[in-house]
Amino acid sequence: MTGVQTKAGTDEAFPLFGRIGADAGREAVLAHLAEAARTVRRRDIQVVHDAGQGHIGGEFSVIDLLVTLYMHVMNVSPELLDAPERDRLILSKGHAAAALYTVLAARGYIGRDELKTFVQPLSRLNGHPARTKIDAVEASTGPLGHGLPIAVGTAVAAKLDRSERRTFVILGDGELQEGSNWEAFMTAGNQRLDRLVAVVDRNRLQQGADVAQTNDLEPLADKLRAFGWDVHEVDGHDHGALIDTFAGVPALSGRPTFVIAHTDKGYPVSYMRDQVSWHHKVPTAEHVRIALDELGNQ
């Protein structure tokens, strides 16, 4: 140990991050999101280290998406938990649960100290998110291929009610190998769900190997266009680009939006980045120290 305290929730200040609107100005929004993402990553790696469990590689690839959506894009807040008009976000790649919990804690949905209970006996913070345990979780996920059909149903409900609310669903790229997604891609296109946004965390790695070497998805954008979706590609770690992409939704009437967010597994930590071995490897105290150093200790 090199002076790093690794009990999450006790080692450093972990401020709340509210939702920042566009009226704050672009620079302020980007600074807010950058600090939130940095803080969430710092806490998340400690949570996973302390618990001895997690999927840190895929958590670090998705954190910028979660932070951008929860801290800026979506019309959600802890005060609007049951509001019918709230936007919906479903984390279909439920194995990134610790990242979601850390974002929810940073946003004030759950207590920041509660992160210490991740996967401990009787904790609400199960290894995969459960909607019955945490109100802010819109769908129980974990088994892959569940989130998109649920998001389609939520979007159909909004359309029936002529609601303006949007539904976001974040999928892993390896997850797209599940056939249920392709059933739902067809349904969403045919139902013309233009307030549905599916975001794929395109980190190119699944549990055991490269996605391309396992069961390749390409040409992914062409496939989704053929299914009737409006496809966008964006740097999934560029908050500004993500904001611009989401602000333009729906871009085409009657077409659901598919965002290919190009990310790196383990981003931005040097030893983790693009390494398939970091799918669910547990960081040691030394790993944590290096990551905190790289993420900035300030």
Binding site: T132, S140, M186
Partner: protein, 317 residues
């Protein structure tokens, strides 16, 4: 003697569809989710009246149940209606996770269950559904016996906030429940009291249990007939009373002998009051070609075999 099976027969799908249509007129949140199963679910009139409230995902069962869960998230009351064999087998993980584990307000309607698709073969039979679904925590599993109970159950399901699975029979059945019958979840119904032996039956074959009891009465055997609409949660007390007060229990169901009504009755008596049990249902094998009624008779899921089992239990008491 007029037996139950000689009475007028009814397709419970007609009742389910009429009941849902009636409910939908008073509740705009009720929607139907189907897998190209409008016709086989008898929902043509519903679709004509509420064209925007039928979400047809096509032949895509996992998507169908997930979409239902999403509709529930959006405040709707989805009735997901599909052939029981595909609904429960293809979408079993969605039923477990999206419906039950998530405590979604979703109604899963298994059409044409059991041996209803007779000649179409074991691919289309749904005899494992009760075993699969009753192993899932929090899911209510209901098998109505006739059109009256079907209507009652559909009305109850629309009001009940939570995941429910209901079998809706295709094989025509006579009316067996009393005219003033009201469905109460988790309660077995004593259709005929008796002191000697008990037949516990569920769904389409309740009429066959009543027929067996009539035949037994002519032989001087006093048979109690319990109709068991709710497989889960289960009326353990009614079964324990039957185990205490009669020579034993014969179970009768249009389902596999593995893990259905027979299974839950056996588990109950073993735990609380050991008693002889005879489980009549579809044996643990893939059925040969034949119509639904032929197959049920072939496998002894009928009055004749129920009567034989009653005689054995009384004789060995």
């Amino acid at each position: 003697m007029t037996t139950a099976l000689e009475r007028q027969l009814h397709d419970c799908r007609e009742t389910w569809a009429a009941t849902l249509t009636d409910l939908a007129r008073n509740d705009r949140d009720i929607v139907a989710v189907v897998n190209d199963s409008v016709g086989s679910s008898k929902l043509n009139a519903f679709q004509t009246e509420f064209s925007d409230r039928v979400i047809n995902v096509g032949i895509a069962e996992q998507d169908m149940v997930g979409v239902g869960a999403g509709l529930a998230n959006g405040g709707k009351i989805p009735f997901v209606s599909a052939a029981a064999c595909f609904l429960t087998a293809r979408a079993l993980e969605q039923i477990k996770v999206d419906a039950a584990y998530s405590e979604s307000n979703i109604k899963l309607i298994g059409q044409s269950p059991g041996m209803a698709y007779g000649e179409l073969g074991p691919t289309h039979h749904s005899i494992e559904d009760l075993a699969w679904l009753r192993a899932i925590p929090g899911l209510t599993v209901i098998v109505p016996a006739d059109r009256r109970e079907t209507a009652e159950v559909i009305r109850w399901a629309a009001e009940h906030p939570g995941p429910v699975f209901v079998r809706v029979s295709r094989m025509p059945v006579p009316d067996v429940m009393p005219e003033d019958y009201r469905f109460v979840p988790g309660h077995a119904v004593t259709l005929r009291d008796g002191r000697d032996v008990t037949i516990a039956a569920t769904g389409t074959v309740v009429s066959r249990a009543l027929e067996a009891a009539e035949l037994a009465g002519a032989e001087g055997i006093d048979v109690r007939v319990l109709a068991v609409p709710t497989i889960k949660p289960f009326d353990n007390d009614a079964i324990v009373r039957a185990a205490r007060e009669t020579a034993g229990i014969v179970t009768l169901e249009e389902a596999s002998v593995v893990g259905g009504l027979g299974g839950v009755v056996a588990e109950t008596v073993v735990r609380r009051h050991p008693a002889p049990v005879r489980i009549l249902g579809v044996p643990d094998e893939f059925a040969p070609t034949g119509s639904a009624s032929w197959l049920l008779d072939h496998y002894g899921v009928n009055a004749t075999e129920a009567l034989r089992a009653c005689r054995e239990l009384v004789a060995t008491e």
